[in-house]
């Protein structure tokens, strides 16, 4: 039950109720003087009527004040309403129904919250009278949608049918702002009904300041769809790759973290891993109340390229997002040609021993992402570089003209070359033959005792080739390495990826055509440095090899959050071209690729659905963009949290808007709306009649 006013601004007229009192006070001050002979009779009369006179006087004053109050209330046109939603009388209504279609509505109301919400909206629309106008706004608006008030129930009901659950979080501020914008113009009775589960996630971020337009005089009623029973509430918090890279036929470890928002432990939760639609593995997990549990899967992918994956939770009565999508970019084995320029009879003494172990630690064919092939430098001239992604020259004395030509062609076509120094390495020969592709001018060799070796000074963690070294243990490891022999290189104006404490470069890079050449100024084995026996050596070599092979591949992409933009950094050849994006519902969206510095950038903003988005790169780009052709979008993790914002807290957030929270069941109860204008008019007339009669009696 509630009373509201059609024209609340006219309630200021209540101030006029003080007028009779003011007039009374003014009259008391403004006295007329009369000299009169029979004052004694007046005194006697007053004595006789004193009590009744005063009583009548106050009754008159009260009646006059009441009359003004009734008049002001009458002009403001009060409406008495019982029930929460059905209208009957009270003049034309301009109503905006806001429908919370955030993902959390899926689990509200004990599992059929959105259905209840739609039913509530249907009830409201059906109860509208002739002349009423309504707009239906879902909460996943971005403020640009063209909503308008309309009076046709059939169209409104059709619109209602078309509203589906969105995979993102509700944006109550945008929806409310739109509602106030729509209600700014029409006169008469206005109302906003917000059907919502009052999910904490959506409302927690709400701020009244974000609303472009607010009218506190418009009544806001929040129709609350709550839970009758506390459900099991859990979801997948994160998906990550637990192993190093994702390669064909390599064991791939995927770790899913499952969170429990509820106060009850979730037992026997089936967690299932699915790749390309096939169930790969499933495990039972127990998630403590308000806690998290990690579930590990191991799988192998026998095809290179992009794969779609899902981790699915299965449990009866579980409320929360049960499916998380991710993308796997499986890398075929990287073939690396390792050239040993200083072969030894002992394998351990070999120049390439540590390097080949770093590339394939287990030494087995299907145990590493990399497939190194070691040859001696004598066989360089006859070697063919086709089929290799990276060539590593370890302490190779000098290169023949024929091999230099092959190497330069290999580089231009996108291959990667890593050159290590050493005692056999002839800087003059390299400077002469590879002057066009070397990152620096090679100078003399510098060799000192091991004990007085230089430490590593600086390393550029921002460089993509070194980003894998961001862990502090690896950084400590590389800092602890000592280098006592290296070839000095002069590269004025060029920053080294890794440099020694004395400033001499240790690792330099030069881009050549589509490929890259890197120069390690020290040896690949322990002859000139202790780097090969440091922890950092393996990830450093693998990271450099991945980089030289062309971008970061062989990764798990856990995806973005629905509603956020996906940024792609592409080779500059894509600038101005159109990227086609296929959404999870198979709809296509085209995105124009823009230029940014020396790269191309595509910003995909249509990520409004959870699932896998597929990219069709335009023709004419470079050979390998290094960007996987799929990515995943998942609902916001916290959208699965079913905690609700308290009614009082919500009302505080909405203040000065008068917000009333009504349970959805109240809508189903019969309600009525009574215009109080007529009863008030009757009261006013009766008051005036009594006043007139009493005044006459005086």
């Amino acid at each position: 039950m509630s009373v509201f006013f059609l024209y609340p601004a006219l309630l200021f007229g209540l101030l006029a109720a003080s007028l009779p009192i003011l007039i009374h006070l003014l009259n008391r001050r403004k006295l007329k003087r009369i000299q009169f002979p029979a004052v004694r009779f007046i005194l006697l009369s007053q004595k006789r009527i004193s009590r009744s006179y005063r009583l009548r006087h106050w009754i008159l004053l009260a009646l006059r004040t009441l009359a003004v109050v009734f008049l002001a209330l009458l002009l403001a046109n009060p409406i008495f309403q019982t029930g929460a939603g059905l209208f009957a009388g009270g003049g034309p209504v301009s109503l905006v129904v806001l429908l919370d279609n955030s993902l959390s509505m899926t689990w509200a109301g004990d599992g059929d919250g959105f259905k209840q919400a739609k039913e509530a909206a249907r009830l409201l629309i059906s109860a509208l009278n002739e002349g009423d106008r309504t707009a239906l706004i879902p909460t996943n608006v971005d403020g640009k949608e063209p909503f308008r008030l309309k009076g046709q129930k059939d169209i409104l009901l059709k619109e209602l049918e078309g509203i589906e659950i969105a995979d993102g979080t509700a944006n109550p501020a945008a929806a409310l702002s739109k509602a106030y914008e729509l209600l700014a113009e029409p006169a008469g009775q206005k109302e906003i009904r917000f059907i919502t589960d009052m999910g904490l996630t959506g409302w927690d971020q709400f701020s009244l300041a974000a609303l472009k337009q607010v009218d506190p005089s418009i009544a806001l009623k929040l129709i609350h769809i709550g839970h009758k029973h506390q459900p099991l509430n859990g979801t997948i918090k994160t998906i990550r790759l637990a192993s190093q890279g994702v390669g064909v036929n390599l064991p791939t470890q995927i770790e899913a973290t499952v969170a429990n928002f509820g106060d009850t432990e979730i037992k026997d939760l089936l967690v299932q891993l699915s790749i390309d639609g096939q169930n790969r593995e499933q495990k039972l997990a127990t998630v403590p109340a308000k806690g998290e549990t990690s579930v590990n899967f191991q799988t192998r992918l026998n095809q290179p390229g992009a794969h779609v994956g899902q981790v699915i939770l299965k449990k009866d009565g579980l409320a929360g997002n049960a499916t998380v999508h991710f993308a796997l970019d499986t890398q075929d084995k990287l073939k690396v040609l390792v050239v040993d320029g200083d072969p030894q009879t002992s394998l351990v003494q070999s120049e390439t021993f540590f390097l080949s172990r770093a590339l394939n630690p287990a030494g087995e064919r299907d145990s590493s992402l990399f497939l190194p092939t070691v040859i001696l430098s004598d066989g360089l001239n006859s070697a063919t570089l086709d089929g290799y992604q990276v060539v590593m020259l370890c302490n190779v004395a000098a290169l023949s003209d024929a091999f230099v030509t092959k190497l330069q062609n290999f580089l231009r076509q996108g291959g990667g070359v890593l050159i290590f120094g050493g005692d056999k390495f002839q800087p003059e020969s390299y400077s002469q033959r590879l002057s066009q592709v070397l990152p620096a001018e090679l100078r003399e060799k510098k060799l000192g005792p091991e004990a007085s070796g230089e430490k590593v000074g600086k390393f550029d963690l921002d460089h993509p080739a070194l980003q894998n070294l961001s862990e502090s243990t690896l950084q400590e490891s590389i800092k602890s390495a000592r280098v006592w022999g290296y070839t000095r290189a002069g590269a004025p104006g060029k920053a080294a990826l890794i440099s020694l404490a004395n400033g001499d470069p240790l690792l330099l890079e030069q881009k050549v055509g589509a490929g890259r050449l890197m120069l390690f100024t020290t040896s690949a084995d322990r002859d000139w440095s202790d780097l090969p026996v440091k922890t950092v050596y393996l990830p450093l070599i693998q990271s450099l090899t991945q980089y030289l092979a062309g971008g970061k591949r062989g990764m798990l992409d856990a995806g973005i959050t629905v509603g956020t933009a996906k940024e792609l950094s592409l080779p500059p050849g894509y600038v101005g071209k159109t990227l086609r994006v296929t959404k999870p519902d198979k709809q296509n969206v085209e995105v124009v690729i823009a230029g940014e510095k020396d790269r191309a950038r595509a910003t995909i903003e249509v990520n409004d659905q959870a699932g896998i988005y597929r990219l069709d790169f335009p023709a004419g780009g470079e050979k390998d963009s290094g960007t996987p052709p799929i990515y995943a979008a998942n609902p916001p993790f916290l959208e699965s949290r079913l905690d609700e914002i308290g009614a009082r807290e919500l009302q505080t957030k909405l203040s000065p808007i008068r917000a009333e929270v009504i349970p959805v069941d109240a809508l189903k109860e019969a309600g009525s709306r009574t215009d109080l204008a007529l009863p008030l008019l009757a009261l006013l007339i009766v008051t005036l009649l009594i006043e007139g009669w009493l005044a006459q009696r005086f």
Binding site: L31, R33, F36, A38
Partner: protein
């Protein structure tokens, strides 16, 4: 009687005539022309006393023998042989100085008194006058001389209303000064204690006088026709003031006034006193009719 003459009974018309003698004459002439003239009741011939000459006295009435004896002018006064000696008592207290519509109660009282005196003298009866407030302001003993009217009018005109009222005490005092019985006519608003007034009037009755009371009130005193919040200040007692809404008390006020009038009428009736309530809106002929009915 013409319409024009009739208008002279209207107090408002009379208020426009400043000369009291003229007013009295208009009233009485108008009245007498409409009724049968009464027979003269006798003429005064008996010497009563000498009194000193004062300007205005007729020369022929100077007692020349007395002049020879005392070397001073004396007028020979003769006692009127009339069957009526009328004492006209006029209340000249402050409360009489009230007029809600044109003529004050005092003016009305003066006109009425003058008319009575004129009428009495014209019928060769003796008329005297006493004006009083809380004391006797003027005392003109009754005489039956025609030209005596001038002195009566002079006494009325020379004295404006003012001062407090103490009707009961004053009536006692006047009663003490009246030596021969006759007719006592009191014209007053009687705004005093009814018991004291009646006690005073009873003194006259004890001495064998006939008494007529003209209870004179303004119409506003009867009706209280005012509106709005009013501070009423008493005309006699400055400390007596009250704020009242006449609309609220009007009906009660009228009851109170009527109770007072009824009480006065009853007391007068009980003491064989003629009581006549008149308001300043009452035509003079109606007021005089009361006297004429008594006179027969």
């Amino acid at each position: 009687m013409s319409d024009r003459e009739k208008n002279y009974f209207d107090p408002k018309v009379l208020a426009g005539i400043s000369n009291l003698a003229l007013r009295a004459r208009y009233v009485v002439e108008g009245l007498m022309s409409g009724i049968h003239r009464s027979r003269a009741k006798g003429f005064s011939v008996e010497f009563e006393e000498h009194r000193e000459y004062s300007p205005g006295d007729e020369i022929r009435r100077i007692d020349w023998k007395a002049l020879g004896k005392f070397d001073r002018y004396f007028i020979k006064e003769y006692e009127d042989e009339t069957n009526l000696r009328a004492y006209l008592l006029v209340d000249s207290s402050g409360s009489m100085n009230y007029a809600s519509d044109g003529i004050t109660k005092f003016d009305y009282a003066c006109t009425l008194t003058a008319s009575l005196a004129y009428l009495i003298l014209k019928q060769q009866d003796a008329a005297g006058i006493v004006t009083f407030s809380n004391r006797i302001e003027a005392f003109i003993p009754p005489r039956a001389k025609r030209d005596y009217l001038i002195q009566i009018l002079h006494a009325l005109e020379n004295r404006g209303p003012g001062g407090d009222t103490d009707v009961g005490k004053i009536l006692d005092e006047i009663a003490g000064q009246i030596k021969r019985r006759g007719l006592v006519v009191l014209v007053s608003d009687l705004l005093d204690e009814p018991a004291a007034i009646v006690k005073g009037l009873r003194q006259f009755r004890f001495k064998g006088n006939d008494v007529i009371v003209f209870h004179l009130l303004d119409q506003a005193e009867l009706d209280l026709p005012f509106d709005g919040n009013i501070l009423f200040e008493d005309l006699e007692a400055a400390e007596l003031r009250v704020v009242a809404d006449p609309r609220a008390i009007r009906s009660t006020y009228r009851v109170v006034v009527q109770e007072f009038i009824t009480e006065m009428r009853k007391q007068c009736h009980d003491n064989a006193i003629d009581y006549q309530l008149i308001s300043t809106a009452t035509r003079l002929d109606q007021a005089l009719a009361s006297y004429l009915s008594w006179r027969g």
